[in-house]
């Protein structure tokens, strides 16, 4: 089986794989993580706000998203959002948002649900006494959250947040369903075109493995560095 392996196909396609495919994968991962953390934190604050309407709204959103397969959401967004945009703006044609923006919004909103639960756990891990101490010093809710609670919650949760990001990094490969070329998509295209399925898929697997492994090692080291002294 390995007699007629052509490793050279990998070398020849490296620029395409990395400058087109991997670049897309990394950009999507980073932007969706950043957006997801911001929206997720807001959702977590809503869930913990003690205001029933806000808590219910955020809770419903999180539960809805978490009970849906990601592929379905990607599809749904890509094909339905143009029509929703048309309906909302009253335009003559469906609003074209473009594949990149569509998947970026999808992943951000999808990840926000997961980051919400992580940040919620993080906020709840901070003792109530910390909030009382901040209040007793006259801090308002935004000040106490921004300077006392969230920085501690965030640090406690960094390992979990980054683990979620590594999962997201792998999940971005699902963009193939709307024919967007990420790293795996690029490898797949070359594989089909040159009939080099074994080489390309093997190489793609190794790259995902290497990056994910390196990232989780980095997480472990980071954990030691940023831990709060107690």
């Amino acid at each position: 089986m390995f007699s007629n392996i052509d490793w050279d196909v990998i070398v020849r396609s490296l620029p395409y794989l990395f400058f087109d495919g991997m670049r897309f994968t990394v950009i999507l991962t980073l932007l969706a993580t950043a957006g997801g953390i911001v929206i997720g934190t807001l959702l977590a604050l809503m869930r913990l706000s003690g205001i029933p309407a806000l808590a219910l709204l955020a809770g419903a959103y999180v539960n809805l998203i978490r009970s849906m397969p990601l592929v379905l959401v990607i599809f749904w967004f890509y094909f339905l959002v143009p029509y929703i945009g048309q309906w909302a703006t009253g335009a003559e044609r469906p609003i074209q948002v473009g594949a990149f923006w569509s998947v970026l919004v999808t992943f951000t909103l999808f990840e926000a649900a997961y980051f919400c639960e992580i940040m919620r756990a993080g906020i709840q891990s901070i003792s109530h006494g910390q909030a009382q101490a901040a209040q007793a010093l006259g801090m308002t809710y935004p000040t106490a959250m921004g300077y006392i609670i969230l920085p501690q919650a965030f640090r406690n949760m960094v390992p979990v947040l980054l683990t979620q990001t590594i999962i997201l990094f792998q999940d971005t490969s699902l963009v193939y369903v709307i024919s967007v070329t990420d790293f795996l998509g690029a490898a797949s295209k070359i594989a089909q075109r040159d009939g080099r399925l074994v080489e390309m898929y093997l190489f793609a697997a190794i790259v995902y493995f290497a990056i994910s492994l390196a990232a989780s090692h980095f997480v472990r080291r980071l954990q030691h560095r940023i831990a709060i002294i107690r």
């Binding site: 006494g129 009382q132 010093l137 006259g138 308002t140 920085p151 709060i228 002294i229 107690r230």
Partner: protein, 242 residues
């Protein structure tokens, strides 16, 4: 300066404060004692609005705590509070613990806030620990930082919620020394504590609470000399045995 009038509070059906009334004048040091679960901590947390109450009024420096129009953050900035478990911010250095609220709440500029913070660290004898993190200090040192943090806001009164209960015995004295000095300087203080030595030394009055009620409110000498209520006598006999 602080007036409590018939303050009552319920947790569900359980009444934790029953018609508590007391008056604390400017410069007075009042010790609140009583068995655990008697509502002492709850009562002083009502004074700065950390705990809501259901009935009665609390007036601090002319401002009503229960009034929905009162800006609680503004009022709290003027009342210092020291907690049983210190509650320093573990992710911030000692000096940042002292300066943050001065900057964000009082709007002082950073330099003035740090200068003021250093002056207070000096006062509690921890000048050289400014750049350390709370986790690097002993319990007694942390509590002294917490007192300095509250003082940095130039409070009109200080509330202490069992400030020495979480400390190892050998660290209690250093914290009490700071509190005694503060009392001698004329600070208005309400102190929930079991340290009867401290009460004897600096308190003007002792309030004894049991089961959510203020059972006795007497000048210190009277309280230790001849407590009127049986419950206070029983409590004192238990606590003063050793």
């Amino acid at each position: 300066m602080i007036t409590m009038n018939k303050v009552s509070k319920w947790y569900g059906k359980a009444q934790v404060l029953k018609n508590c009334s007391a008056e604390i004048a400017k410069g007075e040091v009042v010790v609140v004692c009583g068995p655990s679960g008697s509502g002492k901590s709850t009562l002083i947390k009502c004074v700065n609005g950390l705990e809501p109450f259901n009935e009665g009024t609390i007036i601090v420096d002319g401002i009503s705590i229960g009034d929905p129009k009162t800006s609680l953050p503004k009022l709290r900035a003027r009342i210092g509070m020291v907690f049983q478990h210190f509650e320093l911010f573990p992710h911030l250095s000692v000096i940042r613990n002292l300066s943050l609220a001065q900057i964000k709440v009082l709007g002082r500029d950073e330099k003035a806030a740090i200068e003021n913070g250093m002056r207070l660290l000096d006062r509690v004898g921890l000048h050289e620990h400014a750049e350390k993190f709370p986790g690097q200090l002993s319990g007694g040192q942390q509590q002294r930082v917490a007192i300095a943090r509250a003082l940095a806001m130039d409070p009109i009164a200080m509330l202490f919620d069992e400030p020495t209960s979480a400390l190892d015995p050998e660290m209690i004295q250093e914290v009490l020394d700071v509190m005694v000095a503060l009392a001698k300087d004329g600070m208005t203080m309400i102190v929930v504590t079991h340290e009867m030595g401290f009460a004897r030394k600096v308190a003007n009055r002792v309030i004894f609470m049991d089961k959510g009620e203020i059972v006795e409110d007497a000048p210190t000498a009277d309280f230790f000399g001849k407590p009127r209520s049986e419950r206070a006598q029983l409590f004192l006999s238990k606590i003063l045995q050793h």
